[in-house]
C-alpha cells in the first residue's frame, strides 16, 4: 500500500469519526458577545487613529526605561513583574511547581486610556523540566491570549521561540523568524511592547529581576522588530508600561461560585479599585470597591468578595477599574474585564 493510500485511510477514519457531529447553532451567542454592548471591549477596531495617537505618548516611555541597556542590575530591586503572594492563582510558576501543568503569568497587550499597555494573564501551562522558562515565554511569543480584549503583537510576525534559559544573573531568549525589522503593519509602540512583553514574562516566570538578553537565530542582534536589543534589557517602569488595573482572578470565561473572590493589581487614586458585574447590555447589576494595599509608586494587590448569588444563570462581565477623580478629563479610568459564567 502506498503512503498516499495509507494516508487516505487515516483521512477517511478521521473524517468519519466526526461526521456525525452536528454542532448547535451559536451564531446568536457569538453576535451577542461581539455586539459592542460593552463599549471599550472592541479596542482593535479603534485601529489606526487610536494606536497612532497612543504611539506618540508611549514611544518615549517605551524606548526610555523599557529598552535601556543594563549592565549592573540593582539586586535590591524587587522583580516588579514577579508573582506576588496575594495572587494564589500564580501558585509557583517555577520548575518546582506541580508536575504536568503549572500556572504561569504571561504578559499581553491591551488598550487603555493611555494607549496600549501590558496586562498579565494567568494560564495553565505544561511544565517542561528541561526548559523551565520555555512554556511560559513560548506562550508570550507564539500564543493567543485567552481574554479577547488582549492581543499579542507577535501574532502574525511568524516568530517562534528556540530556547529560553536563565538564572538570577541573566536570562537568554532565543527567537527565530524574520524579526530583525519592524513589519510595516506593526505600530512602533506595539513593537516596543512586544519586547517588553518578553522581558516581563521571563522575569515573572523566574521570579527574578535578571536582565534579559534577546537573540535572533542564536546570535546577538542589534534590533528585533526594529527595537534596539543588543544589550541585556531591564523592564520599563511599571506605571509607564502596565495597565494600571488588572484582574488575576477570575480567569476569562470562568464559571464562578455564588460568591467568589476577585483578585488583581492596581495603582488607583487613594488605592480605591471600583468593580462591577455587568450584563450583556452593559447594565451594572452588582458593584463594589476593593482597597489595594497601596497606590502611588507601583501596582499593589487588591482583593474583593463578589456576590453574584442573586443573578440568573448566564454570562456576565466582571470589570475592575481605577478610580478617576478627574471625572474623565484624563481619558477616563483604566479597566480590565473578564467574562464570567454564573451557573
Amino acid at each position: 500500500m502506498s503512503t498516499h493510500e495509507r494516508d487516505a485511510d487515516l483521512a477517511r477514519l478521521l473524517g468519519e469519526a466526526v461526521d456525525d457531529v452536528e454542532p448547535t447553532d451559536r451564531l446568536d451567542e457569538i453576535r451577542a458577545r461581539t455586539g459592542g454592548a460593552t463599549t471599550g471591549r472592541r479596542w482593535w477596531y479603534a485601529g489606526g487613529a487610536a494606536l497612532a495617537a497612543a504611539a506618540a505618548v508611549t514611544a518615549v516611555a517605551v524606548l526610555g526605561p523599557g529598552s535601556a541597556p543594563v549592565t549592573a542590575p540593582d539586586p535590591a530591586a524587587p522583580p516588579s513583574a514577579g508573582p506576588t503572594s496575594s495572587d494564589p492563582s500564580s501558585a509557583d510558576p517555577s520548575p518546582t511547581a506541580t508536575p504536568e501543568t503549572a500556572t504561569g503569568a504571561v504578559y499581553f497587550v491591551g488598550q487603555t486610556p493611555m494607549g496600549p499597555r501590558l496586562y498579565r494573564e494567568f494560564r495553565a501551562l505544561a511544565v517542561d523540566d528541561s526548559e523551565p522558562l520555555g512554556p511560559v515565554v513560548r506562550a508570550a511569543v507564539e500564543g493567543v491570549p485567552e481574554d479577547p480584549d488582549y492581543a499579542s503583537p507577535w501574532a502574525g510576525t511568524g516568530a517562534t521561540l528556540r530556547s529560553a534559559t536563565g538564572d538570577d544573573d541573566l536570562v537568554t531568549l532565543d527567537l527565530a523568524g524574520d524579526l530583525h525589522d519592524r513589519p510595516a503593519t506593526l505600530d512602533p509602540d506595539l513593537a516596543a511592547l512586544a519586547v517588553e512583553q518578553l522581558v516581563r514574562t521571563a522575569q515573572a516566570a523566574l521570579g527574578s529581576p535578571a536582565p534579559v538578553q534577546l537573540l535572533l537565530d542564536g546570535e546577538r542582534t542589534d534590533q528585533l522588530l526594529g527595537v534596539p536589543v543588543s544589550e541585556p534589557l531591564a523592564p520599563g517602569d511599571d506605571l509607564d508600561m502596565l495597565a494600571l488595573v488588572s484582574i488575576s482572578d477570575p480567569a476569562e470565561g470562568q464559571r464562578v461560585e455564588a460568591t467568589f473572590t476577585a483578585r488583581g493589581r492596581a495603582s488607583s487614586f487613594e488605592a480605591t479599585v471600583p468593580w462591577e458585574v455587568r450584563d450583556d447590555a452593559g447594565a451594572v447589576l452588582v458593584e463594589g470597591f476593593a482597597t489595594a494595599e497601596g497606590w502611588m509608586d507601583r501596582l499593589h494587590p487588591w482583593e474583593a468578595e463578589v456576590d453574584v448569588s442573586a443573578l440568573a444563570p448566564g454570562r456576565y462581565t466582571f470589570v475592575a477599574m481605577t478610580s478617576d477623580p478627574s471625572g474623565g478629563e484624563s481619558g477616563g479610568p483604566f479597566t480590565d474585564t473578564r467574562t464570567i459564567v454564573v451557573p
Binding site: 495509507r6 494516508d7 487515516l10 466526526v18 454542532p23 451567542e29 461581539t34 493567543v144
Partner: protein
C-alpha cells in the same frame, strides 16, 4: 489604515466565516478535544476573538488561518485546564461516557476508537494529524498554524501516523 476600502465589515466577515466554517472547525476541535460541548466553546471563543481582530486580519483567508490557529491553541489550553481539574478530582471515578454501549453500531465503535486513539497521541502529533488529514492542509499551512518548522511538521506527521495506525490496526484492517 483608513484609505483602504474593505469588502466586509467585521460583522459581515463573522457571518460569512461562521456560515462556511463553523461546523468544520467544531469537528476539528472534537478531534483535538473529544468533547463536543468543549469543542463548541473553544470555536465560539475563536470566532469572538477573530471578530475583535478583523481590523488586523481584513482578508477572509487570513481570518480563516487565524481561526484555525486559535482553535488549536485554545483546544490545547482547554485540555491543560482539564488536566488541572482532573488532578483535583483524582479521587473520584471518571464519569461513564459509554452510555448505551450495547446499542452502539460498528461505525459508532470505530468513531469512538479513533477519537480515543487521537487523545492517546502526544499533543503535537494529534494537532498535525488533525490539520493534515481532516482539514487537508499543506505542510506549510500546518507549520504556520502551529508555529513550528516544516521539518517538525513532517516528523510529527510521520510519527503520529505510525502511532495512530498501530492504535487503530483493527479498524484499518477491516474498514467495512
Amino acid at each position: 489604515m483608513s484609505g483602504e476600502p474593505r469588502r466586509w465589515s467585521a460583522d459581515e466577515a463573522l457571518e460569512q466565516l461562521y456560515a462556511a466554517h463553523w461546523r468544520e472547525l467544531v469537528r476539528l476541535a472534537v478531534l483535538l478535544l473529544r468533547d463536543v460541548g468543549a469543542a463548541e466553546e473553544v470555536v465560539q471563543d475563536a470566532f469572538v476573538a477573530a471578530h475583535a481582530r478583523w481590523d488586523r486580519l481584513r482578508d477572509p483567508a487570513k481570518a480563516l488561518a487565524y481561526l484555525r490557529q486559535s482553535v488549536v491553541n485554545r483546544s490545547r489550553s482547554s485540555l491543560r485546564h482539564r488536566a488541572v481539574v482532573r488532578r483535583h478530582l483524582a479521587a473520584q471515578p471518571p464519569p461513564a461516557t459509554a452510555a448505551g454501549a450495547d446499542e452502539r453500531s460498528l461505525v459508532a465503535d470505530r468513531r469512538a476508537a479513533v477519537l480515543d486513539a487521537m487523545r492517546a497521541l502526544p499533543e503535537r502529533q494529534r494537532e498535525v494529524l488533525a490539520l493534515r488529514h481532516y482539514l487537508d492542509l499543506s505542510e506549510a499551512e500546518i507549520a504556520d498554524a502551529l508555529g513550528i518548522s516544516r521539518g517538525a511538521v513532517k516528523s510529527h506527521a510521520s510519527r503520529g501516523s505510525a502511532r495512530l495506525r498501530e492504535l487503530l490496526a483493527p479498524s484499518l484492517e477491516d474498514p467495512s
